[in-house]
Amino acid sequence: MYSPTAMDHFLQPRHCGVLSGADIAIGTATNADCGDTARLTLRVIDGCVAHIAFSSQGCAGAIAACSATCAWLHGRPVGAALGLTRQTIEELLAPWPAAKRGCTQMAVAAAIAALSAAASGR
């Protein structure tokens, strides 16, 4: 049901972990359908996402989506990153199961929350 790319992100997730420090922005999201959770922490340096990490209590799709989201965000300017959509991550992991759209939605929601926090200086 998952593509080889998605399975690779699940089995060898990129940026799994947690960042700490006063300059860290945090974003969290929950998949209302199943209760899975995602938490992204990132550090912006010179307007770009310099460091990023995620944790997720979720299914294989949630973990793969968070991993792919972090990989996509890493190094991008915050302004451009704020344009991230679910479809972008689903294209990276394609073919993405329709039943797992909640996973990509959750990962992107956590990312946007973290980016928004970083952009507003919170």
Partner: protein, 375 residues
């Protein structure tokens, strides 16, 4: 990597005798059992021998009480149809019946039947049979497919002495004694692929086949109750699996129970800081079945992780595991519904194989917990 298959409650690989038979020249060259020629007669003889031996193995009085069907779902549907066609009344089933029973039961409401569910307690047992007292049809599985709990069919019969009592024994056969007559049931469902026969064959045992009306009509096979050319090769495979599965059952069951208990103990010891919860009736549980809840994890992620590590397990009933809905069985038991794995053993495991499986479960749980809460 040698894979370890721990999903025998979903489907169990062909037993060696079954595989040998299915690959034989005789199996490949059987005629239509309704034909008069030698090839047809050979098929017919196999069917009638199977009917006789399966009846004996499962405690039926007469071979004619055994009807061959395509599998467990058909057996359950045919039984419910037989019990209810042409009448109305109250139909009752336990809350943990397989969908192959639960859905045809629910559909009876469209025909004017009053349909009710018997709640179960935290281990999957029916604590109060009073709702079944006035049932015309009562459905009680012998053993649950997800948690392994063995239900008290005798209590069901006592509660509703006049009901058509149907027993889905699909998970119990080959794992726990099943005696059709002693259970006092009116019908009993059997599925081949749960005991090492191919998918596509099953049986319905009926106490009084004169009470059965056919669902599918045609050539009049199976005493006119289930038309369609009998799958003689598959019926012979079912005979081989049932006879093997019911021979020396208690000795084999004790051995498998020991292996299952070791598997559970090893996993719990390996995760002593946050051990899984074992779900099901610890006093009356199928020897091969272990249902475990791992706090804070996704069952789907665990299954995928273990699959990549060479271990095949299930999230619960394979029929619904792709649905994303919580298991109706676990909901009915008010048991944990997240992070629940079902490990179901087969008859031939070696201790070292299960030690490897336990180690992989521990490693998979630790990795996913690290992703969920990195330190």
């Amino acid at each position: 990597m040698r894979r370890i298959y721990l999903d025998h409650n979903a489907s169990s690989p062909w037993r060696p005798a079954v595989a040998q038979w299915m690959r034989s020249e005789q199996a490949a060259n059987l005629g239509n059992p309704s034909s008069f020629h030698a090839e047809g007669r050979a098929a017919r003889q196999l069917i009638e021998r199977a009917r006789t031996e399966i009846a004996a193995a499962l405690g039926a009085d007469h071979p004619e009480q055994v009807l061959f069907v395509s599998g467990g779902t058909e057996a359950n549907n045919l039984a419910i149809h037989a019990a209810t066609q042409g009448s109305v009344g109250r139909a009752v089933g336990t809350a943990i019946e397989h969908p192959a029973v639960g859905r045809p039961l629910a559909a009876l409401a469209d025909s004017g039947w009053q349909v009710a569910t018997l709640p179960v307690d935290g281990v999957g047992q029916v604590a109060d049979w009073s709702a079944a007292v006035d049932a015309r049809l009562l459905c009680v599985m012998r053993a649950n497919n997800e948690v392994g709990t063995i239900l008290d069919v005798a209590a069901a019969r006592h509660a509703a002495p006049n009901a058509w009592l149907h027993c889905d024994a699909i998970q119990a056969i080959g794992k726990f004694p099943v005696d059709f007559k002693a259970l006092g049931v009116d019908s009993l469902a059997v599925a081949g692929h749960k005991i090492g026969a191919p998918v596509g064959i099953g049986a319905l045992l009926v106490r009084d086949r004169n009470r059965v009306q056919p669902v599918q009509r045609g050539g009049g096979q199976e005493f006119g109750l289930r038309s369609g050319t009998q799958a003689a090769a598959l019926i012979e495979a079912l005979r081989l699996a049932v006879v093997e599965g019911t021979t020396n059952l208690m000795k084999r069951s004790l051995h498998i129970e020991h292996l299952r208990d070791e598997l559970e103990a090893t996993i719990q010891a390996g995760l002593a800081d946050n051990p899984p919860t074992i779900i099901g009736d610890q006093q009356a549980r199928l020897a091969n079945t272990s249902c475990m809840a791992f706090t804070g994890l996704s069952a789907e992620a665990l299954v995928m992780e273990l699959d990549a590590r060479g271990v095949a397990v299930a999230t619960g009933s394979a029929c619904s595991s792709g649905s994303g809905r919580p298991s109706a069985v676990l909901v009915a038991m008010e048991a944990p519904v997240h992070g629940v794995l079902r490990l179901s053993l087969g008859p031939d495991h070696q201790p070292d194989e299960l030690a490897t499986a336990a180690a992989q479960v521990v490693a998979a749980v630790r990795r996913l917990r690290q992703i969920a809460a990195p330190v």
